[in-house]
């Protein structure tokens, strides 16, 4: 489904031109949305419907406030912590279960069930046990992102050719050689896909948690503006959150494509 990459020989010039062209295509949709927003705001012409320029100006004001900057730091820190925790735990658990097709069959149903339920309704339980603070937000963000990683890595490990591992046993290969020659080629494509999916889910979980109850964080900032109907501030912050998410999103997608091309999938 992805766009086919040019088959022509890749010189540095054609590569950078190709990069510019794809960047251009990427920017069309946001441009359309911004222009549509500006036109709509001009037609409605109301205080409660600010245009993009006004919203970005408010975002600039917010960014100069220490409290808002503190919220950014808090959200980004917890996101990175929850995400990396989800990646490490999900990969290890998925790998351990995937080595045995029996145990992966046992754990697949509960893992899939936990993946597909709306976990946000469980957030109060996290609050009851961990209190309102960074611990409950972090744990919830982790919980929101860990299951797809475990499921994807488990499936990849299960479908890996176990004869290679037996061969490695016979040849008494050291662990780092096994890692480099067998495990990474077989598992890395699924792991990067899982890492990308988990990024979005962890961030979503974190923002949800912050909106429901937290002392700081970007979700908290959004909700505190609702009561005062500061729509321009909200719109500016939504744009900010989207940019904050989209840049790693594209970087992860790019890395995933490269790794999939290199190792196959």
């Amino acid at each position: 489904m992805s766009l086919s990459t040019a088959a022509a020989p890749r010189t540095p010039i054609s590569r950078s031109r190709g990069l510019l062209v794809s960047l251009g295509w990427i920017l069309i949709l946001p441009a359309i949305i911004l222009i549509g927003w500006a036109i709509l705001a001009a037609i409605v012409d109301s205080v409660v419907f600010p245009g993009p320029l006004q919203s970005l100006a408010r975002l600039g004001e917010d960014l100069s406030e220490p409290g808002f900057r503190q919220s950014i730091v808090s959200t980004v820190t917890l996101l990175l912590a929850g995400w990396s925790l989800a990646v490490v735990v999900g990969t290890l658990v998925g790998f351990a279960l995937g080595l045995s097709s029996f145990w992966s069959a046992v754990f697949e149903t509960p893992l899939f069930a936990l993946y597909s339920i709306p976990k946000v309704t469980l957030y109060p339980v996290f609050l009851l046990f961990l209190g309102i603070g960074d611990a409950s937000r972090l744990t919830f963000a982790f919980f929101h992102g860990v299951f797809p990683i475990a499921l994807l890595v488990m499936a990849a490990t299960r479908s890996m050719d176990k004869n290679f591992l037996k061969l490695a046993d016979v040849l008494v290969l050291p662990w780092y050689t096994r890692l480099r020659l067998i495990l990474i080629p077989a598992l890395l494509p699924s792991i990067v896909t899982a890492v990308r999916i988990a990024f979005g889910l962890t961030l979503l979980g974190l923002i949800l948690a912050e909106m429901f109850s937290a002392q700081s964080g970007l979700g908290r900032e959004l909700v505190s503006n609702v009561a005062n109907v500061r729509v321009d501030h909200i719109a500016g912050q939504v744009v900010f959150i989207a940019i904050l998410a989209v840049i790693p999103g594209f970087a992860l997608r790019w890395g995933e494509k490269r790794i999939t091309r290199r190792y196959g999938s």
Binding site: A105, G200, F212
Partner: protein, 278 residues
Amino acid sequence: MSTERVTTEPSSTVESSDKPKTVRERRLGLTVRGWTIIGALLTVLFLELAPRLGLVDSFSLVPLSAMVVRALGLLIDAEFLSQDLAPSLLSILVAFIFAVVSGVLIGLLVWRFDWARKTLDPWLATYYAIPTFALYPLLVALLGIGFVPIVLLATLFAVVAMISSTVDGLDGIPRSVLRLAAVLQLDPIQRTFKVLLPAALPQISVGLRLALSYSLIMVLASEFVLSTSGLGHFISNAYNDFAITDMYAGVLLVFVLALGLNFAFAAALRPQSKRVLS
């Protein structure tokens, strides 16, 4: 550069569930199903006994039996049904229908027109990195609390999964099928409904399941965070009132609803997708 390929399918692994090979195998005398049942029983026992034996304090967790009794009580409570359950179900249904109809239409557009594909394709894979839910306060500020912003948000969240799977399905149609449609000289509508969509149905049904589960997640999340009715609101309200039994009963109902819809959907779609595949 690319040498031999290992056959794994990351996109379908989450859904796969049939492994006839391992069913007969036993570990410590139990089959896969046996262990699954043991796990479920242990969870039930823990949820029942932990608060009763004082392993967990009773303000944080109530015994499972109390949750079940309260949940059953809610199901015959007319106010709960009309104020909480019905609005949630209605929002989920409407958002699901919107997402499916617009997702299939946009998917057809992306598949048919190169400009649409070039514009949307980079965003389809990146969309779910964005916490769409951040839009909800904006929608509430503009449209007020109620049915409209919830359905809009859930549709926005679910539609992209529907677009992606429609495009995947259409891309996977064999060339011979497309040639057949050309030979039959069908008009565009007949071609779409009699050839393209049926041929893409296995992938589309994956999208349907995702769209349903995504609408459900977003409807409950928006009700939970900021709303005046719905199942999500019931749970957050109970939490704020320290009505812990009510809260757990609500969570239990949400899980039953989510898992029930998911499995019912999977069961309903399985024979159909097999028929198309064979």
